[in-house]
Symmetry: C2
Subunit: 178 residues, 2 copies
Amino acid sequence: MIRAAVELFAERGFEQTTAGDIAERAGVTERTFFRHFADKREVLFDGSKTMERTAYDAILAAPADLSPLDAALAGMVAGASLLEGRRDHAVRRSGIIAANPSLQERELLKLAAMADTAAEALRTRGVAEPTASLAAHSAVTVFQVGFARWLSTEVSVEEPPDVATCLAQAAAALRALT
Amino acid sequence: MIRAAVELFAERGFEQTTAGDIAERAGVTERTFFRHFADKREVLFDGSKTMERTAYDAILAAPADLSPLDAALAGMVAGASLLEGRRDHAVRRSGIIAANPSLQERELLKLAAMADTAAEALRTRGVAEPTASLAAHSAVTVFQVGFARWLSTEVSVEEPPDVATCLAQAAAALRALT
DNA sequence: CACGTCATGTCAGTAGCTGTCATCACTACA
DNA sequence: TGTAGTGATGACAGCTACTGACATGACGTG
């Protein structure tokens, strides 16, 4: 169903695709579609929970002497690494989301959830508020900026971009702010 | 209509209130409601455009020797100042939004729009990417954290909290991250 | 072979939202 | 004063996202 949805969204656009269309191409009923996905948008955000947990675990597993921001960033790198081998898919998905405000909303909600989870992990590490929230949000911002850069770099210049490298660059730019 | 909507959302909750209910209490038709608001959620985000523009103008008007982050923060303070005298309303609105994920999505979209606008203002000031985006997003994060703190401080302790003060505290905590 | 349970199909219904046309107030201008 | 244009609203039909309820069939377990 995910594959069917991505295909259709890419062909006709998100709004022009009905839930029935996706179900039909996937060979199931519309009702069945809504039993697997809470709503039509959710079909594009299947792996978000996994990424969230991965980041959470990585933050807890980070060396104890890391600063809150560095620990949160380690979580982001771990989460982003999950997509390392699937750049083409990520690019197409990103294009679909960029073309539709309601999908952007959903993406922002997922990122906010990741920030909340990261803050929770930092608190478990003993970081107090509002430092935990600020570090988590900052790390997610770095994730956004670095990830976008990773997606936008041309592959034609045969220099295979690395997610972790892009995030590190964004992190460096963030530190330069103060 | 905005007043009618806020009342009903507070009484029965967002999902339990239909667009027809709001329209009826406001003395208009459901169709008329949707002519004024793009969707049911939008009724809670009426002033967001104004705040966005205020922040944009303030960033452009900020002293030229301010750092990107400080200029962006000046914009946030200017935007937040619009709500200075309406804390009670902001608190009630915040409670409604916190109780509904789809409203949180919309709020995140508005904040992202503010971040984009702030980044645009910074670029106009001559700030390059990705510094502009990072500074803008960081400033919005400070806005979120500081604003939440402003809303959560008890009024009973007769110490009238100041929006700008709350934002300044959050900004200080952000700087302490690095 | 009987039984539970789990995924799916079917059907009816609600609500968010949109297009279209008619109506009505208000304004401008002859 | 009359008339034409403009903008807001009401009325109505229609589509689609999503949900609840019930029936059916596959499958593993005893």
